[in-house]
Amino acid sequence: MTATLTTTQVYRVYIKASAEKIWQALTDPEWTDKYGYTGFAHYDLQPGGAFKVVPNEEFKAAASQGGYVCPDVVVDGEVVEVDQPHRLVVKWRMLMDPEIAGEGFTRITYDIKDLGDGSCSLTLTHELEGAPKTAALVSGVNEAEGAGGGWAWVLSDLKSLLETGSTLAGRS
């Protein structure tokens, strides 16, 4: 028997919202700044299009308070595939830390499936081959050190935002 070895991480959340609404929350900068790590995501929604996340002022201020100059772009990448509002594939690289950035681009697939009862499943598949530090960050294992809870935390927060209008920390 050959054992499968995978570095892929898979996250799924069920959200009582339309596929269009979830798509907007993932791709509209005004929405992406409201949950998880925050920041304005800018996608050129076509294959080969650019993708970047620009931090908000509060995030940058916290960075400089910590004695660290926050880059103007905290995540960058490239759009691979777009099937609005059901599927988005992007190359993704986190730029806050040089070691993590040095691991290069990983690949994220967002799948939104309408369940026909007013809710959808959102599945995030992150292919992390050759990127162990990125994998650790997005898995949330560094949360106790203040690195946030990774994708599980982000998706939990996104669900909270779309279903109740507010996030866990009370932003809206």
């Binding site: 054992a3 910590g66 050190e145 203040g146 690195a147 946030g148 939990s156």
Partner: protein
């Protein structure tokens, strides 16, 4: 946030499935296996439970999948099983994460920690 289900908050329907799935030791063991190494096939999982039939393992995996604790994905001819931590995160965030406000400083702190391990 209540519906026709006896006035129970809707979220509790989701939570009910999660707690039911976690109440069984075999299912917790299957999650332990996936936590140790994610993306396993049914055959691999089954080999860790020699006292159980393939059908029995499939039944447990189905309960875990319905609760959202396991997500399967096709890769070529194989169906791989992944541990999905989101439902457990939702439980965590509901009762534990109430007082934390660290999103803004999150990555900054990681950066500091990586550079200054002391």
């Amino acid at each position: 946030m209540t519906d026709a289900n006896g006035g129970r908050p809707r979220d509790d329907d989701e939570l009910h499935g999660v707690f039911r799935a976690l109440a069984d030791p075999t299912r917790r063991f299957l999650l332990d296996l996936l936590f140790a190494r994610d993306g396993r096939t049914l055959t691999e999982l089954e080999s860790e439970l020699p006292e159980m039939t393939r059908f029995g393992v499939m039944k447990h995996l189905r309960v875990l999948e319905e609760a959202g604790l396991v997500v399967t994905q096709r890769q070529g001819r194989e169906k791989l099983h992944f541990l999905n931590p989101v439902p457990i995160r939702l439980i965590h965030d509901r009762w534990i994460d109430k007082y934390t406000e660290r999103r803004v400083s999150a990555l900054v702190d990681l950066k500091k920690q990586l550079e200054d391990p002391s």
